[in-house]
């Protein structure tokens, strides 16, 4: 148990380090994420470029740091938004039952059945083009958060259903506890592990979703970096084989996601 706690501390420290590196990117590297050193495209790691350069000669280390800022701040925000929506409506559907449950589940099914890619493409088509890149970025992640709740809701709803018939909820009902109190004080705290899991799982999904969206012009636009558009560079396997240092953003993503998973409290600890 003690060793697991140590691992958790290490993971927390790693995540803090990644977050801080992203936030203080300007202090860590003197390169801009946008400056193109055109005489050095696809350069190997060196003292002047710690992770080498990308195809346009931009310092990859600077791009990873600034990309961390974008992805690690906005993807959790989007994950939080979608988990909040899924948690609230999933718990409500599971607890209330009847027409309320049917309506919420139907909405979730509709949400899952919608071809999101086409919805987003249609949305991009009607958006004005001269939107500030930062605003476009925030809008993208908000949109992901608003549209990505449906599958989490199903999980939360299933967990709530099992709680609805549990002894402590029955006892609360028997003592005349109002439904809002049952939801907030008895059901939601017990849904915490499910919600945490949904939240952590959503983060890498949103990081990757952003990469897909940037192909549609909805995500992070040039020259702003994000983990998503840095990962797009890995699509070409032979290019990665020739420039193996390009894999660093992927390693960072794996590290961050694993750390997110490992700092989750276990079921036993919650109990």
């Amino acid at each position: 148990m003690k060793s697991f706690r140590n691992v958790r501390w290490i993971c927390a420290a790693l995540l803090c380090a990644i977050f801080l590196a992203g936030i203080f990117a300007g202090g860590i590297t003197h390169y801009s994420y946008a400056t193109q050193f055109r005489e050095r495209p696809n350069a190997a790691p060196s003292v002047s470029h710690l992770l080498g350069t990308d195809g346009l000669g931009r310092d990859l280390f600077a791009r990873v740091l600034y990309g961390t800022r974008v992805s690690l701040l906005l993807a959790p925000a989007a994950a939080l938004l979608s988990t909040f929506i899924a948690g609230f409506f999933g718990a409500l559907a599971g607890l209330a039952g009847g027409w309320c449950e049917k309506c919420i589940l139907a909405a979730a099914d509709l949400g899952m059945a919608l071809p999101l890619l086409f919805v987003l493409m249609a949305l991009r088509a009607v958006l004005p083009l001269d939107v500030d890149p930062m605003l476009s970025l925030v809008a993208t992640f908000t949109l992901l958060g608003l549209l990505g709740w449906a599958s989490s809701l199903r999980v939360v709803w299933a967990a709530t259903q099992s709680l609805r018939n549990s002894d402590f909820v029955l006892l609360a009902r028997a003592t005349g506890c109002p439904p809002s109190r049952i939801l907030l004080r008895h059901v939601l705290p017990n849904l915490r592990p499910v919600l945490f899991a949904q939240f952590w799982i959503s983060i890498p999904v949103y990081v990757l979703a952003e990469a897909t969206l940037s192909m549609l012009g909805l995500g992070v636009t040039e020259p702003l970096p994000s983990w998503g558009n840095l990962l797009r560079g890995l699509e070409d396997f032979s290019l990665v084989a020739a420039n193996p240092w390009r894999i660093f953003p992927l390693l960072l993503l794996i590290l961050a996601v694993t750390s997110f998973q490992l700092i989750l409290p276990s079921q036993e600890e919650i109990a």
Binding site: R38, A125, L216, G217
Partner: protein, 544 residues
């Protein structure tokens, strides 16, 4: 023994000569990059079908892809009337279709009738429709036919390079061909198999029947990476039109297998939206209509860097609407584009713009900033936009880059006109400027910077309109060229399209294929399919 050895040594060159030259027969295996929509040559409208038409169709006149000159094919000779309304073909005698039916003037008349029938909706036929009215095919004899059009047709003989003659009498018309191969098998989504036409009319210099190959297997493969992997494994012997990155990778491993035919006809270009109905602020419209502004943008873009970084050096800075690869129509007096940000600033300053604290402002104090759109999923264009963004920041211009899916982009370009500037490519398959009529006429739908104008918005557009119409009606190619040279000159002066680069035509050919010499015109790597032959089987495929 001694005598027989001497005889053998004397005869050895004769015995081994065919082996050194390569063997007749064998199968060539390569990919087409989409499903052929039709095998009917008059209905061809896609690249895959066009490739199959090239391999199977017999034409009256063939454009030699290497010399870019017209050569007699099924027509031994031809004459065009002075009014350019009719053309008379004198056909080769004794030619047979692949199914054995004889080729006569009946077949030419039948093909032209089908081609020009409005019910057929033939894209090839559209090129001949200069005006309303019917086309008449008059058979002078079994081997002579005159085709008369209702109005003069520019570059009339050249258009027949695309007209594959159909059989008027064969029971299976689409399967009876006059080209070097015929379609023997087609498995949708998988492959098209072509067999040698035993009745093909053409012979080599030694009198041997052409083509040398027995068959061609065309695999339908959209994924270019898989195609390259299969080529490396030796499963394919040819790749037509490789992208620069793939080509460079292959060149590093197996330089002998890569072929660069030189600068191609395709260009990448940038233009500003000058449409009167565009929902843009008046200040932006004013910038985009200013010639000096467009010239400054052109001067501030480092084309050499685009070629070197985005295309790995397999591209050349573009001069104008016609690539130097178009040997006859290219205006060689045009000045090469020059990267000069200092001069760019001087030019915009003369036009009333101000450069203050690294920011370019117009005479009203508005910051010069625009959005550059391009289609998503095109890595090369996305790289180019990022590079243009940095180049223009050096003269104080802020560029926002937006990538859009193609339908949304086309919607904005052709209907709503809600965009500032666009970066796209121009695919040029035809050498003749007549094919660019809708681009250059101010009333044209493809006049992208300001399409479908009722009257020309500027004096220079009016001059281009006049020159394009005059070149179409000019009696000689020399006069046409003089007029189109002037169009290219105006385009270079006014920069309505800022031409960026012309891509090289890159292909890969296995060492087992003998006689391949890729060219810049379609179909680049197998334009001389009749003359291709396979080497010894041991050499088949690439080495890696």
């Amino acid at each position: 023994m001694r005598r027989s050895l001497r005889s053998f040594l004397l005869c050895a060159p004769l015995i081994f000569a065919p082996m050194a030259l390569g063997q007749s027969g064998g199968q060539l295996h390569f990919c087409i990059h989409g499903e052929p929509k039709t095998f009917n040559p008059v209905l061809v409208d896609d690249e895959a079908s066009e490739n199959i038409r090239y391999l199977t169709g017999g034409v009256l006149i063939r454009l030699n892809r290497q010399t870019q000159a017209l050569e007699p094919a099924l027509a031994a000779s031809w004459e065009i009337s002075r009014d350019r309304r009719s053309i008379t073909f004198h056909l080769r005698k004794g030619v047979l279709f692949s199914d054995g039916t004889p080729f006569t003037s009946d077949d030419v008349a039948y093909t032209m009738k089908l081609l020009m029938d409005p019910q057929t909706h033939s894209p090839t036929g559209d090129a001949f429709r200069a005006s309303e009215g019917s086309v008449e095919a008059k058979q002078l004899s079994a081997d002579a036919v005159t085709i008369t059009f209702p109005a003069p047709v520019t570059g009339l003989d050249r258009l027949f390079d695309q007209v594959a003659i159909l059989s008027a009498h064969s029971p299976k018309k689409e399967m009876a061909v006059l080209g070097p191969f015929f379609v023997s098998e087609y498995k949708p989504g998988s492959y098209v198999h072509l067999q040698k036409n035993p009745n093909y009319w053409k012979r080599d210099a030694q009198g041997h029947a052409l083509p040398y190959l027995d068959s061609i297997q065309l695999d339908i493969q959209r994924n270019r990476d898989i195609e390259l992997v299969r080529f490396r494994r030796g499963e394919l012997q040819l790749i037509n039109r490789l992208d620069a990155e793939q080509f460079e990778r292959l060149r590093k491993d197996s330089p002998a297998l890569t072929r660069n035919a030189g600068t191609g006809l395709d260009a990448e270009e940038l233009w500003f939206n000058q449409s009167a109905s565009a929902p843009l602020p008046e200040a932006k419209k004013a910038w985009f209509r200013t010639t000096e502004f467009r010239k400054a943008i052109s001067m501030a873009i480092n084309r050499d860097d685009l070629c070197r970084i985005v295309y790995e050096g397999y591209a050349k800075p573009a001069y104008g609407p016609v690539s130097p690869a178009n040997q006859f129509w290219f205006n060689s007096s045009l000045q090469a584009p020059k990267y000069d940000p200092q001069n760019a600033l001087a030019v915009v300053t003369r036009a009333g713009f101000r450069y203050e604290k690294d920011v370019l402002k117009d005479s009203s104090g508005n910051r010069v900033e625009f959005t550059l759109v391009t289609n998503s999923g095109n890595a090369a264009r996305e790289k180019m936009t990022a590079m243009i963004q940095q180049d223009l920041s050096r003269i104080g211009i802020k560029v926002n880059v937006v990538t859009l899916d193609f339908p949304s982009l086309i919607e904005r370009m052709t209907r709503t006109f809600d965009y500032d500037a666009c970066l796209l490519g121009l695919v040029n398959t035809d050498l003749d400027p007549d094919s660019q009529m809708t681009v250059w006429l101010s009333s044209g739908e493809d006049h992208q910077w300001n399409p479908s104008q009722k009257t020309p918005a500027t004096a220079w557009e009016a001059e281009i309109d006049k020159l394009m119409r005059e070149q179409a009606g000019a009696p000689t190619e020399k006069e046409r060229k003089a007029k189109f040279d002037r169009v290219q000159q105006i385009a270079a002066e006014q920069q309505p399209f800022i031409y960026l680069i012309n891509k090289d035509v890159l292909s890969a050919v296995s060492s087992s294929v003998i006689g391949a010499s890729p060219v810049v015109l379609n179909p680049q790597a197998f334009w001389n399919i009749e003359a291709l032959r396979m080497g010894p089987a041991a050499d088949l495929g690439a080495q890696k």
